[in-house]
């Protein structure tokens, strides 16, 4: 790996981040944030962390970017221009001084630590027992499966939290339709959504399968599914479901529930989250497939936002 490439990439990361943080226009800021996320993905590739690169590009740049774009559009429709207002001089001077010293201190700290892949030595000999090749998947779904289990509930909880914001009359209801304002774009999205949703599904399923041995996995695949669902919804190929549909609820909890059940089943084999001998791979794949479905649906609904009252078409700016 050439050091010059790394250095240039890092400068570009810092540059895009700087613009994303400090440019006046919010849309430009978000655009640069997405570019920043993609460059971060490159950085992860350069570090040799393909799994993280996929997650960063799909989730860090993709989903987060869409979230910010939608939020900005909704704020604009509500008459909030997303201007930052002026910062008092003393504040930014003080903050500048503090953050510069913080940067220097943190950089010095980081340089005082020798980079090493210390736990790789611990992970490697344990992998044969799992029957999968991807070490990151091994950490996520075996050695530290407990973290991942809790994390899947954080994601579910975030959707519940978003739902809790629904206005009184809107519950239980549907999220605002993320329709394209431009009619032609709408048709394109609709047509491509119909085609792309199955493609996304197949691609995502492959990502999960590959995730046992190659880079990939439930979270990356779930994002692809969520992307397909969102695109299909934007074009009107599928409608967004009411928050109280039993089938929807089942799809949301399926992954976390199966994960939890397998964890509890482990008690029969000796303890919480223990995979019985020889079954590790089968159980990991089961968890990944169910988790990917739930993550896909959850992420799509997180992007869609809380249910809104039925009557007005939201993007038309009903409150304006």
């Amino acid at each position: 790996m050439s050091g010059a490439f790394d250095l240039i990439l890092c400068l570009m990361i810092l540059g895009t981040a700087g613009i994303a943080l400090f440019v006046r226009d919010a849309l430009a800021a978000i655009a640069f944030f997405i570019a920043f996320g993609n460059l971060m993905g490159l950085a992860w590739l350069s570090l040799g962390a393909v799994n993280v690169a996929l997650a960063e590009i799909a989730i860090g740049a993709g989903v987060t970017g869409i979230l910010l774009i939608l939020a900005r559009a909704r704020l604009l429709a509500l008459g909030d221009p997303v201007h930052s207002g002026d910062t008092p001089t003393w504040l930014w001077l003080g903050a500048f001084a503090a953050c510069t010293s913080f940067a220097v201190l943190l950089a010095a700290t980081v340089l005082s630590i020798t980079p090493e892949s210390g736990l790789d030595r611990v992970v490697a000999p344990l992998m044969p027992g799992l029957g999968i090749e991807n070490r990151v998947t091994g950490v996520l779904l075996a050695f530290r499966a407990y973290d991942t289990l809790l994390e899947s509930f954080v994601l579910l909880g975030a959707l519940v939290a978003v739902w809790s914001l629904a206005p009184a009359r809107a519950w239980p209801g549907r999220p605002a339709e993320p329709r394209m304002a431009d009619g032609q774009m709408h048709q394109v999205a609709g047509a491509s959504g119909r085609v792309l949703l199955p493609v996304a599904l197949v691609m995502a399923a492959y990502l999960v399968w590959a995730g046992s041995d190659l880079p990939g996995g439930a979270f990356q695949a779930g994002t692809v599914l969520a992307g397909g669902l969102m695109l299909a919804a934007m074009g009107g190929a599928i409608g967004l479901p009411r928050s109280d549909r039993p089938l929807l609820r089942a799809a949301l909890v399926l992954g976390p529930l199966v994960f939890l059940a397998i964890g509890l089943g482990g008690i029969a084999a000796g303890g919480f989250l223990i995979y019985p001998k020889g079954l590790a791979k089968a159980l990991i794949v089961t968890i990944e497939y169910t988790l990917f479905l739930s993550i896909g649906v959850t992420l799509a609904l997180l992007v869609a936002g809380p249910p809104v009252a039925d009557s007005p078409v939201p993007d038309a700016g009903g409150n304006g």
């Binding site: 943190l106 736990l119 809790l150 579910l156 519940v160 939290a161 009184a168 239980p172 039993p246 919480f272």
Partner: protein
């Protein structure tokens, strides 16, 4: 068989069930409360030294759950408090007046999420796992706060998220420096270097935000005061405690050799300042719920005032017990007080303390619950609050730490001033209008008062169970072998 995992898995199961049952999910608490109380009691009675390696993966990589004294007491108190709050929310639903159907339904999965997150956090010794549990609790906490004031919740959210990342940054430095994030392993390998000091500083700052220690408390009063009563109770009783417990793990277990006495006195000083500042602010409030919320700022102060007392003691068990029991007593008493305050405000003419007149006659049980909770918060005997303060006070005097001793005494007096003010308002004659209090009827009033009364009663009863609780708190303390001490306990 080792069932520690159930304390996390069962609430998560209830969360899923609540989501599947939708509107009727609220009835699940009728099963969840006794089941969790039973599990927590079982945990408290386990033989010392019970641990669980999740998935049986060994340590530098895996995650260790451990039933030490702090975990036992916090999980048990948490089970009683959350269970009671949940049961109370059946009769006094958080959807409340503004008819938020979404609030009424989503309250339940969020309650179970917080329950699982809190238990997971109390039990684990893994600092990254603690990050995930912190996020579980913070997420639920912000959502619950948003049920009252969206603006306050957003402020809470932003500062909590920044705090989480500062904590995670600390974890990142530790994992790079030591190749482990397990507290028990770090205790063996910790060394004094830049990375460790930086990590500890970042994590401490982050956790002080989460625990709302003065001067990082700013987000707490608006968020806690505006939320519906059951949500406020969860926020004040549970959410701020997790940050405190993680700090215990860091300061007393992983890095006791690195946290010098100066740093400990900084924490202690902030704690003392919090006691005084929170109490004065509570005295200045003319509305009931902000008063109770500022009292939380003050009570959190005691937890940190105890840090130098524990570290400075020759025999730390007694100060340690005082600190832990204070956390437990505050959980019980503050949850009771918020629930009672919620009922009182619904019956009163307005949300001002002056509007509480006549309530002592209209809802004697609820006002009694408020009063009993106040007794424990002030630290009057017999109560859990008294036992805790007594242990802390004797530790302070023994060490000649008269400043801390003084704050302990003055804090109690100030608490008496602001809490008696609220109480005496209830006994004042009905102020002019507001006779609609009677329309609620005595029967429902009685049922509604059960949960706050039970919690406040427990806070009082704690005063009689002091020795047993001190013994539990001494299980697997971070230093040496646990020594059982015989403290003086309330009559």
């Amino acid at each position: 068989m080792n069932l520690l995992g159930l304390l996390v898995a069962v609430p998560l199961g209830f969360m899923v069930a609540a989501l599947l049952l939708r509107g009727s999910g609220r009835w699940l608490i009728l099963a969840a409360a006794p089941v969790m109380a039973g599990l927590a009691l079982w945990l408290a009675l386990l033989p010392p030294g019970t641990t669980l390696l999740v998935g049986n993966w060994d340590l530098p990589l895996g995650i260790l759950l451990r039933a030490d004294g702090v975990a036992r007491l916090m999980v048990l108190a948490g089970a009683l408090v959350i269970g009671a709050i949940g049961l109370h929310a059946l009769v006094d639903p958080p959807g409340g007046k503004d008819g938020g159907a979404a609030t009424a339904e989503t309250f339940w999965p969020l309650l179970y999420l917080m329950w699982a997150g809190a238990n997971a956090g109390f039990l684990t010794t893994d600092l990254f796992n603690l990050y995930v549990t912190l996020e579980m609790v913070s997420l639920a906490a912000v959502a619950l706060a948003a049920m009252g004031s969206l603006a306050a919740a957003l402020r809470y959210f932003m500062i909590a998220m920044l705090g989480s990342l500062a904590y995670l940054l600390g974890v990142a430095l530790l994992v790079a420096n030591y190749n482990t994030v397990d507290v028990t392993l770090l205790a063996q390998v910790a060394r004094l270097d830049l990375a460790t000091v930086m990590a500890l500083g970042l994590m401490t700052a982050a956790l002080l935000i989460k625990a709302a220690l003065f001067p990082m408390h700013g987000w707490l009063p608006p968020a806690h005061a505006a939320a519906p009563a059951p949500a406020s109770a969860l926020l004040s009783a549970i959410a701020v405690k997790l940050g405190f417990v993680i700090l215990l793990r860091l300061w007393f277990e992983a890095f006791p050799a690195i946290t010098g006495s100066a740093a400990l006195h900084v924490l202690g000083g902030l704690g003392a300042a919090a006691v005084i500042y929170g109490s004065i602010q509570a005295m200045r409030q003319d509305r009931l719920k902000p008063l109770v919320a500022y009292s939380t700022v003050a009570q959190v102060g005691y937890l940190f005032l105890a840090f130098p007392l524990v570290a400075g003691a020759v025999e730390p068990s007694s100060a340690w017990a005082g600190m832990t029991l204070h956390g437990v007593a505050h959980m019980l008493a503050k949850a009771a007080m918020f629930l009672a305050a919620g009922l009182m405000l619904k019956a009163a003419a307005g949300d001002r303390i002056a509007d509480l007149g006549g309530l002592a006659q209209a809802m004697p049980l609820t006002v009694t619950a408020f009063g009993l909770a106040a007794v424990s918060l002030m630290g009057l005997p017999p109560s859990g609050g008294f036992t805790a303060k007594f242990l802390l006070l004797s530790a302070a005097i023994e060490q000649g730490a008269f400043l801390y001793a003084g704050v302990l005494v003055v804090g109690g007096l100030l608490a008496a001033v602001y809490l008696f003010r609220a109480l005496s308002a209830c006994f004042a004659p009905l102020a002019g209008a507001g006779p609609d209090t009677a329309s609620r009827g005595p029967v429902t009033g009685g049922v509604k008062a059960v949960a706050p009364l039970a919690l406040a009663g427990l806070a009082i009863v704690m005063g009689f169970a002091g020795t047993a609780l001190v013994d539990v708190s001494a299980i697997e303390v971070p230093w040496a072998t646990p020594t059982v001490i015989q403290p003086e306990v309330a009559p």
